[in-house]
């Protein structure tokens, strides 16, 4: 049985995901609008004083990014699960971890990258000092893939549940705690000219660990949800 080379299968899956995302362009905006709304809530809530906003800016932007990515995680495997595509993928003999990785990469490009591109606007709203912006973008570039990777495990576990969305955030938020601490402290340190490379270094190592372990955990979760 001459199975497809994994490269072509991976490529076919990615192309399909981009085509699907392109067909549903309107839905791509949802996490971004959500991000903007959540970020604007904070000045309305805590008051517009620039100094206060600047202090809480890294935390606010990162928490908003975290919420936006969890919002889009629920649909990561759900549509494939419901129309039987996931079943055929599992039985296709291609390694399920690779399929999970392809879905995660597609999710990151569709949901994670826009958050990075939107961050200058959010930084402006939250009155983040200029020194902080490049580091904020760096931390988001390293951090959002971790959000997608860890979130995919929760997404795969709750894919077969009808109201899985709420449970998904309960499962995944505790796992985001270390990332949130490191990222916000990196940006905070950069704003006051303290060294921040240590935090970014830890985040990169977190990314590598997540990149190697998360797809296998997601694959196990998918196989489990299908049974």
């Amino acid at each position: 049985m001459s199975k497809q080379a994994t490269g072509t299968a991976f490529g076919a899956l990615l192309r399909r995901d981009f085509l699907l995302a392109y067909r549903r362009r309107a839905e791509l905006l949802q996490p971004l609008v959500f991000l903007m709304v959540v970020t604007t809530l904070f000045p309305l809530g805590v008051g517009p004083s620039p100094q206060l906003l600047a202090n809480i800016a890294p935390g606010v932007i990162w928490i908003a990014a975290l919420l936006a990515s969890v919002l889009s995680l629920d649909s990561l495997f759900r549509s494939d699960f419901e129309d039987g595509t996931l079943e055929q993928m599992v039985l296709s003999g291609q390694s399920l971890a690779l399929i999970a990785l392809a879905r995660i990469v597609a999710h990151w490009l569709v949901a994670g990258l826009p958050i990075v591109l939107l961050s200058p606007l959010l930084a402006m709203w939250m009155n983040l000092p200029d020194e902080g912006l490049p580091i904020l973008i760096e931390s988001l570039v390293i951090g959002t893939p971790i959000l997608s990777l860890i979130g995919a495990i929760g997404g795969a576990l709750t894919v077969s549940l009808k109201r899985g969305g709420q449970l998904l955030s309960l499962l995944v938020f505790p796992l985001y705690v270390p990332l949130l601490i490191l990222a916000t402290s990196a940006v905070g340190a950069a704003v006051v000219d303290l060294p921040y490379t240590g935090q970014l270094g830890l985040m990169v190592s977190g990314l590598i660990v997540a990149l190697t372990l998360a797809p296998f955990a997601t694959a196990a979760a998918l196989k489990l949800s299908l049974s």
Binding site: L157, L161, L170, L171, F173, V177, P178, A220, S227
Partner: protein
């Protein structure tokens, strides 16, 4: 069937496990009560009152063992979950599910005693102290596993999902603890470092005894919860029917 799998298979059969744990539970409760009595007696009457924290150090005999237990049980759940997932041993799945509420109970106990211990020293019930914060995150991990288990309708699938989640959670637990520890020193300066300048030896003994007694509590409670789950799941099976008829006389 090599001998190891055979052993697991034999201990894995529900009726055998049900009977075996039935004999064990009373003994575990007895040992738990004896050791706790000794520990509290020593703790309240022999150990000196800590000059710095006064009598509140007596809360430490509850807080520290409970915190240890909450972490240990989560680690055990991950190990049992791994065995359950890889070898599909049903008893391991039942043990993972039975441990989750006990672990959550110990975490809540650690949080409550921690905040009560903090009140006299820090003036407020809740301080975002490193230990308390990581216990809180651990509590959310427990709730996550329990909620995940209850949201599936098919019990075997629910147990496997809960096992996988406890494995993923256990891998992240040390990372969470270190990052919260580091986060705490970042924002509040280094706190008074550990449990103060070394624990007085007389205070150490009750602490260790309490640590041991909580393990027996966990053992007894785990087995009685596992028996309940087995009964609920196998109520149509032959061995439960026989059990019922035996008890009728």
């Amino acid at each position: 069937m090599n001998p190891i799998v055979l052993f697991f298979h034999k201990t894995g059969s529900p009726p055998w496990f049900y009977r075996f744990s039935g004999y064990l539970i009373p003994w575990l409760w007895a040992i738990f009560l004896v050791i706790t009595a000794i520990a509290l007696y020593l703790g309240f009457f022999h150990a000196p009152v800590d000059y710095q924290q006064g009598a509140t150090v007596r809360i430490m005999y509850l807080h520290v063992p409970a915190a240890w237990m909450s972490m240990m049980i989560y680690g055990l759940m991950a190990i049992m979950g791994f065995i359950a997932l890889v070898w599909r041993i049903r008893i391991m799945e039942v043990l993972v599910i039975a441990s989750a509420p006990v672990g959550a109970a110990f975490t809540m106990m650690a949080l409550m005693t921690g905040s009560l211990w903090g009140r006299p020293m820090w003036g407020t019930y809740w301080v975002w102290d490193a230990r308390l914060t990581s216990e809180l995150v651990l509590l959310f991990l427990y709730f996550g596993v329990i909620a995940l288990y209850n949201s599936f309708d098919e019990p075997r699938k629910a147990a496997r999902a809960a096992s996988l989640m406890s494995i993923v959670g256990a891998i992240n637990l040390p990372i969470i603890y270190f990052s919260v520890e580091w986060w705490n020193t970042l924002h509040q300066g280094s706190s008074f470092g550990g449990d103060g300048p070394g624990i007085h030896p007389d205070m150490l003994l009750p602490l260790l005894l309490m640590a041991i007694s909580t393990k027996f509590f966990y053992g007894a409670n785990l087995l009685s919860r596992a028996r309940l789950i087995l009964l609920k799941q196998d109520h149509r099976k032959r061995w439960v029917q026989d059990l019922l008829s035996q008890e009728k006389h």
